[in-house]
């Protein structure tokens, strides 16, 4: 399956509809990155949301950058005397970077 990549801010209700979800692949990622199935319905959705087109590598860089920022927040959120296990209990696992499709 081929994909397109864009950024757009999710405005909430009707940003993507039930009908649209049945017509093309869609997944949202950190940094308002959206991966969209490459068909006419996907193109129409990108137009509807005024998506800013990105290459896959540009989209990946945005996603990774946001997660790295979250990792920094996690790393700096410490409580005096807290063990690493206790920190994970409090904050859950450290955010991890990943490769988009």
């Amino acid at each position: 399956m081929a994909y397109k990549y864009c950024t757009a801010t999710n405005w909430g209700k009707d940003f993507f509809t039930h009908e649209e979800r049945t017509r093309f692949y869609l997944s949202g990622h950190p940094g308002n990155v959206w991966i969209v199935g490459d068909n006419n319905y996907g193109d129409q959705w990108i137009s509807k949301i005024s998506g800013v087109s990105k290459t896959k590598s540009e989209a990946q860089a945005i996603v990774t950058g946001v997660i790295e920022t979250a990792q920094g927040v996690w790393d700096n959120d410490n409580v005096s005397g807290e063990s690493s296990d206790e920190k994970i209990l409090r904050l859950k696992d450290r955010p991890a970077t990943y490769n988009i499709i």
């Binding site: 209700k13 649209e20 949202g28 997660i67 959120d77 859950k92 696992d93 991890a96 990943y98």
Partner: protein, 323 residues
């Protein structure tokens, strides 16, 4: 009509219109909008997630209750613990009265006008506080017997269950507590101790699934008397979202099996979990509420989000014209 009552023991219900989201498979009803029109509720069609209005305060490890069209989200964390409470009207979230205590990993159940928040943690230690919401404000009521966080909470404000979770000092517990609208009491334990699990249902018919105990897919059902181990989730996870009304009708969505969150959604039919349509945004630590036909997913991480998605899966309705 008389024959139907004689055979089934109950009369045919009269309902206005299709009411697909509120019906159950196999139900026969009389459509009051028609003349001589009976309708039969068929199998559940494939559901999908659509976007809803975002929380005003983005957060994770929050709790919630209510329905898709009248939801309630409360507590959580995002650079600190939160006491914000918000109401959803099917389109947007509106800030309401705050919890009296800032809290994440708390349990929640009930409705938008009769909600219940219990337990939770705010810095690695479990608490036992309980608060009731009346549609306007939160009031502190009697504490849980044992302070617990990351439990599965389900039921109503006057008939709630807190199952398993993490009890002081940060240990997974098999303990289950029941609330009768006034006091908490200990009841039958679950089979597998775990935290970060999810629950759905009512006090006499519930289900818990996922959580920290390997392989993180265990499911147990509750019949009001005993817990029974049943089929595992297909996709293991903890801190997932959940919705459902009984031990035979539930949805599991999102969650994480470290380090990555999932978009996976599964539906429970009383026997097994079946994979259905994915969330658009992968996340763990999200809130969930509703039914297998009309559910709501909100908040979560990473990164911390206020995004909301609405699940809709309608039953096929067949018309039987007896005129």
């Amino acid at each position: 009509m008389t024959a139907f009552k004689t055979i089934k023991g109950v009369p045919v219900k009269t309902i206005s219109g299709n009411r697909a989201g509120a019906s159950f498979e196999g139900q026969l009803y009389y459509d009051s909008d028609g003349v001589g029109i009976f309708k039969f509720v068929g199998a559940l069609a494939a559901g999908t997630w659509a976007s809803g209005g975002a929380l005003n305060t983005a957060r994770t490890n929050l709790s919630g209750c209510g329905t898709q069209g009248a939801g309630l989200a409360f507590g959580g964390q995002n650079s600190g613990f939160k006491n914000e409470s918000e109401e959803y009207d099917g389109t947007s979230w509106v800030e309401g009265d705050n919890l009296n205590t800032t809290m994440a990993y708390l349990g929640g159940c009930g409705t938008q006008t009769a909600g219940l928040a219990f337990g939770g943690g705010s810095g690695g230690s479990e608490v036992n506080g309980t608060e009731e919401y009346n549609g306007t404000s939160w009031t502190e009521v009697n504490n849980m017997v044992v302070g617990t966080s990351e439990m599965a909470g389900f039921g109503l404000q006057t008939a709630a269950i807190s199952a398993s979770g993490s009890a002081a000092p940060n240990s997974p517990t098999v303990n289950v507590q029941s609330y009768d609208g006034t006091c908490w009491s200990e009841i039958e334990n679950v089979n597998t101790a775990r935290y970060a699990l999810t629950g759905a249902g009512i006090q006499t018919s519930g289900i818990v699934f996922g959580g920290s105990a390997s392989p993180k897919g265990q499911t147990e059902t509750w019949n009001g008397t005993a817990w029974t181990e049943v089929a595992n989730l297909n996709t293991v996870r903890n801190i997932a979202g959940g919705a459902g009304t009984s031990n035979s009708s539930a949805l599991a969505f999102g969650g994480t099996d470290a380090p990555s969150p999932t978009v996976n959604t599964e539906q429970w039919d009383g026997t097994s979990w079946t994979e259905v349509a994915n969330l658009a945004v992968s996340r763990g630590g999200l809130g969930g509420t509703g039914t297998i036909t009309l559910a709501l997913a909100f908040g979560g991480t990473p990164p911390v989000t206020g995004a909301t998605e609405e699940w809709t899966a309608a039953h096929a309705i067949k018309t039987i014209d007896l005129s």
